[in-house]
């Protein structure tokens, strides 16, 4: 991982220098919360990958004889539906398990899209300077003025509600953060000797941007990206909740909550579990993000 370049210079004290990864891991593992978060994430990824094997039922199969069955430990519940069923008799546990796939997909797609386009924009702004720089950064300023959820709502209003459009909206909303970070750290690197040396050696602009400078700007970007997962999942769930994200019967967690609105007072389990799933997932990503920040970028430590 080239992002740990800066760490190689850190004093380690031992006679034999540990590898980059070992140094990083020691910093990360010192944070117990981060380890817990990582464990939850690994479990979540496994569940998502093996969803058809671990889920007891199909996420969209409706059992006509079992509307709003309570969870197994409550009166009237049965082990057939461990977390109960919803208003049309679908197994909630199975829907949550398949929903994990969507949430992880949302996280990966949104962060991937926002990180890559934001980084490219930031690097271009830093390298080009002048009008292009001002133009890009002003555009980002304008985007930052809108509260993120509101901007996402506007984008969905234009594109129409669907999971894909919600992901696109949430990704666009988070681009300015990455652009600013990438530009700031690239500007910091541009004046360094190694950049001048590489330039003198005849490296082209693209090479300078992506091979020489980018690896040294990665630490803050990785930290921001790891925290971006939780924002992406929260915002996409919020859009789903407002009816502007994934549409029923997709087992997206926010959409499941929207569907529970009519009868959650009678059947609280329909509400409780999807929300807990969102909370635990977002919490795990935040814990891992904090751990990464402490391990990768001591400057950003709060």
């Amino acid at each position: 991982m080239s992002a740990t370049d800066t760490l190689a210079a850190a004093p380690v004290g031992a006679a034999r220098l540990p590898g980059r990864f070992a140094t990083f891991w020691r910093g990360f593992a010192a944070n117990r919360g981060a380890l817990l978060g990582l464990a939850v994430l690994v479990l979540l990824v496994l569940v998502a990958l093996l969803a058809p094997l671990v889920a007891p039922h199909s996420p969209i199969q409706q059992y006509r004889a079992h509307f709003l069955t309570p969870p197994a430990w409550e009166r009237g519940g049965s082990l057939e539906f461990p977390l109960g069923t919803d208003d049309v008799g679908r197994d909630i546990l199975s829907r949550l398990i398949f929903g994990a796939r969507l949430s992880l997909l949302i996280g990966v797609a949104v962060v991937g899209l926002a990180l890559s386009s934001g980084t490219v924009l930031g690097l271009v702004a830093a390298f080009a300077g002048g009008t292009l720089d001002v133009g890009i950064m002003r555009l980002m300023d304008v985007m930052l003025v809108f509260p993120s959820l509101l901007l996402a709502i506007v984008i969905v209003a234009i594109l129409g509600p669907s999971l894909f459009n919600a992901m696109l909206a949430v990704a666009s909303v988070s681009v300015p953060g990455y652009t600013r970070l990438a530009r700031a750290s690239a500007l910091g690197e541009l004046g360094r000797d190694y950049v001048t040396a590489t330039r003198c050696a005849g490296a082209g602009r693209l090479r300078l941007m992506f091979v020489t400078v980018l690896p040294n700007c990665l630490a803050p970007l990785i930290v921001q990206a790891s925290l971006g997962f939780s924002n992406a999942i929260l915002d996409a769930a919020a859009l789903g909740f407002l009816g502007l994200g994934a549409q029923p019967p997709t087992p997206e967690w926010g959409t499941m909550l929207a569907g529970a609105l009519e009868f959650y007072q009678r059947a609280p389990w329909v509400l409780t579990f999807p929300g807990l799933a969102i909370l635990v997932t977002v919490l795990a990503f935040n814990l891992v993000g904090d751990g990464l920040r402490d391990a990768l970028d001591p400057k950003l430590r709060r």
């Binding site: 919360g33 509260p147 769930a237 509400l271 929300g275």
Partner: protein, 334 residues
């Protein structure tokens, strides 16, 4: 100082023009042209359609329409709502106090609880209290607040029956709107029942909207205090024999406050995003609820005008924070 103020204000102009351009584009980017949008599901004859296009100047080149739009915005005309036929500006003014009231209560709640907790955690660094609070703080910051609001309703309104489920005040009371702030209007009306009804409607939304800022403020206060407590002047104050509380409150807290105040100022956007969800959950008649409804009813003029007003508001608050910060800290005036 004057130069600093003027430069900050001047910086806002291009951003504001960008914001108006974005809201101008909005109505052109939604499927169908503005006339079709306005006609909605009734449809419209092609001939009438062409007439209206001409009447509203929509057959003009885009740049000319934009100039016209800028002129309209400058004269305070933000269009009319399709659903209610009111001007967007009037609707905004009616609903805005509700959002301000809720947001102010939420941020005050977050400060009142978050700062003391952060201070105690910093003083007792490494204690169980510290770990517990930081754990709770990460959890709070990870909270899907739309779910959190529903859980609160379930526990406090449905099971315990302590608080009402939704709205700003019980239907049993009529309060003459003077300021638009329900608590203040109730105070003026001299009706104790109305006051307590308004207050009880406010409690849950305040807690829900305040949760994330509370978590952020507690965390920020703790780290700012930790930094300051390690400084020489705090050690000097201790060495002088000053009492513990005096050192903490007079010497440490005052300096720790600067980053905390900045963070509070930057919470406005978060607060407005949160207000959209909180108002939807509690059927709170404010700006957030209004905007979500406008999307669901395809009332695009409202969305266009509302988005512009919210963005302008955020810009003003950011400007205010910047200027205050410059006032407090001469170094950044440059």
């Amino acid at each position: 100082m004057l130069r600093f103020v003027l430069r900050r204000v001047a910086l806002i102009v291009p951003t504001f023009i960008g914001v108006t351009f974005a809201s101008f584009l909005l109505i052109h980017l939604v499927p169908g042209d503005p006339i079709e949008v306005r006609a909605g599901e009734h449809g419209i004859s092609p001939q009438r359609h062409a007439e209206l296009l001409h009447e509203y100047g929509l057959d003009q080149p885009l740049w000319k329409q934009f100039v016209d739009y800028e002129r309209q915005v400058a004269s305070g005309n933000l269009g009319t709502s399709i659903v209610r036929q009111d001007s967007v500006w009037t609707e905004f003014l009616q609903l805005f106090p509700a959002t301000v009231e809720l947001s102010l209560c939420a941020i005050l709640f977050a400060i009142a609880i978050g700062m003391p907790l952060g201070i105690i955690a910093a003083i007792r660094r490494g204690s169980i209290f510290d770990y517990g609070l930081m754990g709770l703080s990460v959890t709070g910051a990870s909270m899907p607040i739309f779910w959190w609001g529903l859980i609160m309703i379930l526990v406090f309104s449905v099971s315990l029956g302590w608080t009402p489920v939704s709205g700003r005040i019980s239907d049993a009371f009529y309060v003459q709107p003077i300021t638009g702030f329900m608590l203040i209007d109730c105070w003026f009306s001299d009706d104790a029942g109305a006051c307590s009804s308004a207050a009880s409607h406010l409690i849950l939304p305040t807690i829900v909207l305040g949760t994330i800022p509370l978590a952020v403020i507690a965390r920020m206060t703790r780290s700012a205090m930790l930094e300051v407590l390690g400084e020489d002047y705090v050690r000097t104050a201790r060495a002088k024999g000053l009492s513990g509380p005096r050192v903490i409150i007079v010497h440490a807290l005052r300096n720790a406050l600067i980053p905390v105040v900045t963070v509070i100022g930057l919470q406005v956007g978060t607060l407005l995003s949160g207000a959209i969800l909180t108002e939807t959950v509690f059927a709170w008649p404010g700006i957030g609820h209004w905007l979500v409804e406008s999307v669901q009813r395809r009332d695009y003029p409202v969305l266009q005008g509302g988005v512009l007003l919210v963005a302008a508001l955020v810009m003003l608050v950011n400007l205010g924070v910047d200027l205050t910060y410059g006032l407090l800290n001469p170094r950044i005036r440059r």
